[in-house]
Symmetry: C2
Subunit: 332 residues, 2 copies
């Protein structure tokens, strides 16, 4: 059997089934039980050390037209986003860089400048790394952060408010321009492509919302909104009723132009580094103000309900939102 | 210009020249200044958090005949060795796994079992990871550890004793069997190949020697003994006089069999996960006993002297040991 018949998620399950056989790796005993966005260890001073690795592979993670500088920023932001979702302040970044022998030195320099820019943007020093020879350009990032308390992927209760830190659909629209040859006006094209070329992580908002102590659960949305909502609902053993999808203006314009369903663009895109939260009853105004004070926003999209699964509801009907998103290593 | 014209070390220099332009990445302000085996951050409780990433790439790091189980153990041990050299006790391992789509699931399972075995051997839980699609099998390991104090790459003074945690030359001999078709008796072949298939890191000895507070500097020797000695001498601005090279019995037997220089096998091999130490005057008996009590040994090979460079001396002459070792990404 080949890796592609399991796909990324199947391989991750395989890995944890093997590791779980040894007591020191028992997932149930972890501070952030699997699956979650990052790993955590309780430190002597009572705070949590939060650790994350996310691997950027040029062939699968750099859409056509992305510069090396943008790749460096993205490789950094991917890791920041997961710590932001857990409410952890990052303090050290390391990376292992895989390079083909024939790679241009000027491209490597641009990539490192991108990493360095992101390091300044997120106020997180780059403390070390390793370089090796690989067939692909690879940046395996390793991020360490600290948190007084952790927002877990599970923890939502019926009655909680479901919210997101931004609007969705620009990246899915951009992928249709890049990979399906669809077109749009020059302004709209620029807006949409910028979403995939210049991803940014919601660090300030993530820290602010965690600091409001109003979030009951959270998850980074970069595997796609539908996948994220389903993963969170399942982790908490609850259902999510979505009343209004957070559609971006760009996705609405692009959908209208091409007769597409804008909901599909928002739900099944991926590579959108927003955070999905559930906010406890009575906590909304604190969380919403914290996000606003941090220069961002928290958009209410629905509520947590009894039951299971995720559905889009209006006054007439309820339509299930399937647990589907983009996945590496899948045979297609 | 291509990556191969700079080589691994040239690329690392390029990276730090770009990163050093930003104050948050100023290498001079780092707890473990560059170059060193790992990175460190001072924590609230006064201890150091020590961080390391080392990337295992099958194509360059798995010699012919290595099993996937052995690859998993090696990918883990590579990272442990650097923390051991710094006197840091590891407490969390994460890894980013790059896999070709067509990779066999049974091979992935064996690899993970190897990582899991090493995790038990070094009492270091595996807390998380990432999986992505790559053209090579890649295991980018990320290790976190803690230390009360740090043994740096610099810090040696004239009069210190130069010592190593084991004998050298088996891996260079094994590479001659694997890549140059040289032969040896079945017992000797088995002994030599085992050194490259089953590398182990000197964690217990590293922690014990650090605990003796007798070491003034240290470095993991996996890039080769000659390279390591030169790197340490340069970092401290001193010279190293080697009186007796720590030759393994296997390398002496193999050298005799094929008319080779055993010193060359010991100096220019690489992939030997020993630690090289300088031990302060008056500290030798403490360091040596600490290593022995931890089940290992500390072998005196020379002393630190005024001047610079590394040389092999006997009663007649002094011969320089060149700063050369194995390097990834070099055009050959």
């Amino acid at each position: 059997m080949k890796a592609s018949s399991l796909g990324e998620r199947g391989i991750i399950e395989l890995i944890w089934s093997v590791l779980g056989d040894r007591p020191q790796n028992n997932p149930a005993e972890m501070v952030l039980p699997l699956p979650d966005d990052a790993s955590a260890v309780k430190m002597n001073d009572g705070n949590y050390l939060v650790l994350k690795t996310d691997m950027f592979v040029r062939r699968t993670d750099a859409p056509k037209g992305m510069t090396h500088h943008q790749m460096g920023v993205k490789a950094f932001a991917m890791n920041i986003s997961d710590l932001a979702a857990k409410g952890a302040r990052p303090f050290a970044f390391l990376f292992s860089l895989g390079l083909p022998k024939s790679y241009r030195v000027s491209s490597i320099r641009s990539l490192i400048k991108g990493l360095s820019l992101a390091s300044a943007e997120y106020a997180t020093p780059i403390l070390g790394g390793d370089v090796g020879e690989a067939k692909d350009l690879i940046v395996a990032g390793f991020l360490s952060g600290a948190a007084k308390s952790l927002v877990r992927r599970s923890g939502a209760s019926p009655g909680d408010t479901l919210a997101v830190t931004g609007r969705f659909g620009n990246t899915a629209s951009a992928f249709k321009i890049l990979f399906e040859g669809k077109s749009a006006s020059s302004d709209l094209t620029h807006l949409l492509l910028s979403s995939v070329y210049n991803p940014r992580a919601r660090l300030a908002v993530g820290l602010a919302v965690a600091g409001s102590h109003a979030a009951t659960s959270s998850m980074d949305s970069s595997d796609g909104l539908a996948y994220t909502l389903n993963g969170m609902a399942k982790a908490s053993g609850v259902g999510f009723a979505v009343d209004s999808l957070p559609l971006s203006n760009g996705a609405m314009a692009f959908a209208k132009l091409h007769g597409l369903d804008p909901n599909g663009l928002a739900l099944f895109g991926g590579e959108e580094y927003e955070i999905v939260y559930t906010i406890k009853q009575g906590g909304w105004s604190f969380a919403e103000k914290a996000a606003r004070d941090a220069g961002g926003e928290l958009i209410r999209i629905g509520e947590v309900v009894n039951g299971k699964g995720v559905f889009l509801r209006d006054h007439k009907s309820e339509n299930p939102i399937p647990d589907r998103g983009w996945e590496h290593l899948r045979a297609t």
